[in-house]
Every structure is written in structure tokens, then in C-alpha cells.
């Protein structure tokens, strides 16, 4: 099974699990599968239109899936998926 690394700020929504396993065959199915088991995480991953939030990046191994096929990117059984919150800020509003 592929492995998903949950970022620290979202682990409280996954029972404090840093890693989850997935049978999802694509990135989209793997990520959405998390919300079926842990519904409270959904608001932090998806916007109102059901799309992955712009503040959330997904990597397959060391590659941003946006440079692959996005949510349709295929996932193999030994792959590692990382969910990465965008970290930014600063003075200007």
C-alpha cells in the first residue's frame, strides 16, 4: 500500500497519525480517501467547490503532482505521498 505523510498541523484530525496507508490508485482518490475516514480534515484540504485548497500542495515522492497529472496522477503500491501546507506570511495584508 502507498503511504501518505500527514503534515503536523493536520495530525490532530487523523488521530495523531503521521502516516496513513492508501489503496487509492490516483492522487485524487488517495487524498479524498483520508476525508472518508477522518471527515474533520476535509475543510482543511478542500474548498467549498470540492477542489484541493490552493494552500495545500501534494507531492508524489519528491515531485509536485501539479507537474505530473495533478489529481489524476497514478499512485503505485510503494509510493509515498506528502501533503504540504503552503507556509507564507508577512507584513502586507
Amino acid at each position: 500500500m502507498a503511504k501518505i505523510i500527514i503534515p503536523t498541523p493536520l495530525r490532530k484530525f487523523t488521530g495523531n497519525n503521521a502516516f496513513l496507508e492508501t489503496n487509492g490508485k490516483t492522487i485524487g482518490k488517495a487524498i479524498y480517501g483520508i476525508t472518508e475516514t477522518f471527515p474533520e480534515i476535509k475543510q482543511h484540504l478542500y474548498d467549498k467547490d470540492g477542489k484541493l485548497r490552493s494552500f495545500v500542495r501534494v507531492f508524489l515522492g519528491d515531485t509536485d503532482v501539479r507537474t505530473l497529472s495533478g489529481e489524476l496522477t497514478e499512485v503505485g503500491p510503494t509510493d509515498t505521498i506528502s501533503i504540504i501546507p503552503a507556509i507564507a506570511g508577512g507584513i502586507k495584508g
Binding site: 505523510i5 503534515p7 503536523t8 498541523p9 493536520l10 495530525r11 490532530k12 503521521a18 482543511h44 494552500f55 500542495r57 507531492f59 519528491d62 509536485d64 506528502s82 504540504i84 501546507p85 503552503a86 507556509i87 507564507a88 506570511g89 508577512g90 507584513i91 502586507k92 495584508g93
Partner: protein, 137 residues
């Protein structure tokens, strides 16, 4: 909410943010969160913001991913982010709030004319969607 942080760690962070001036500097905070949150060490990282780094900072997804993996390897928790506000108060901006995630402590340090000033720390209240100030011990 309290945030314990070693003086030596704060000094290291302040040195990094002074060196980053007049741009915003940023880095990761690691430690333990059992009962009372304690920052045991920090790691500076690059401000990857393209454009005005005097007013904005950004951490690349690659650097963030490595920070998470480092925490797992070392068996510590990634507890937050620090960044500077050059020539500006240590108060979170609307932009800081709009991109904040739950759980993390966000330390903000004012750097005035190249010297570090006020130090504050903030945590997102998930219900009010506002920052709450942490008491730094």
C-alpha cells in the same frame, strides 16, 4: 497558552533574522508538546518568496517536506514557524492570518533598523479563525 523556549534558541533565531534584514527571514521550530509546549531547537530556512522579501516570506514545499521528515527522523515535533517583520511591529498581519494553519505556533519578531525588538507568538483559534497570543516563557 504558554510557549517555553530556551534563551539560546531565541538568540539563534534573532541572529538569523538580523542577518536577513532588511528582508523577512523565516525558519522552523521543533520541540515537544506534551502538556506544555516547549521549543528545543530551530532551523533557519530560505525565504523563497519571489518579489518583495521585505514585506513577505514564503517557505518552499520542498523545504517544508524536508522539515517534516527531519522531525520524524529525530522523533521531535514540528511545532511552528518563525519569521521577522522588518521595521514593523510584531503583530500578525491579515496575510499572516489568511494562510495560518491550526496547531502551529507562529513566532513573529520585529526587526527595527537591523536590531531585533519585540517578540510575540500566536496560535490560530480554529473556532474564531483568529490568532490567540501565546505567553513566551
Amino acid at each position: 497558552m504558554n510557549l517555553k523556549i530556551e534563551d539560546s534558541v531565541l538568540k539563534e533565531i534573532c541572529l538569523h533574522l538580523t542577518e536577513s534584514y532588511p528582508n523577512e527571514g523565516c525558519g522552523f521550530l521543533y520541540g515537544t508538546d506534551g502538556g506544555e509546549r516547549q521549543i528545543l531547537f530551530s532551523a533557519k530556512t530560505s525565504n523563497s518568496k519571489s518579489g518583495d522579501q521585505k514585506r513577505r516570506f514564503e517557505i518552499s514545499p520542498e523545504d517544508y517536506m524536508h522539515a517534516e521528515k527531519f522531525a520524524i527522523e529525530k522523533n521531535f515535533s514540528l511545532l511552528g514557524i518563525y519569521h521577522s517583520h522588518p521595521d514593523y511591529p510584531a503583530l500578525p498581519s491579515e496575510h499572516d492570518l489568511s494562510v495560518a494553519f491550526p496547531f502551529f505556533s507562529y513566532i513573529i519578531i520585529s526587526v527595527l533598523k537591523g536590531k531585533t525588538g519585540e517578540i510575540t507568538s500566536w496560535r490560530l483559534n480554529e473556532n474564531s479563525k483568529k490568532f490567540e497570543k501565546e505567553i513566551i516563557l
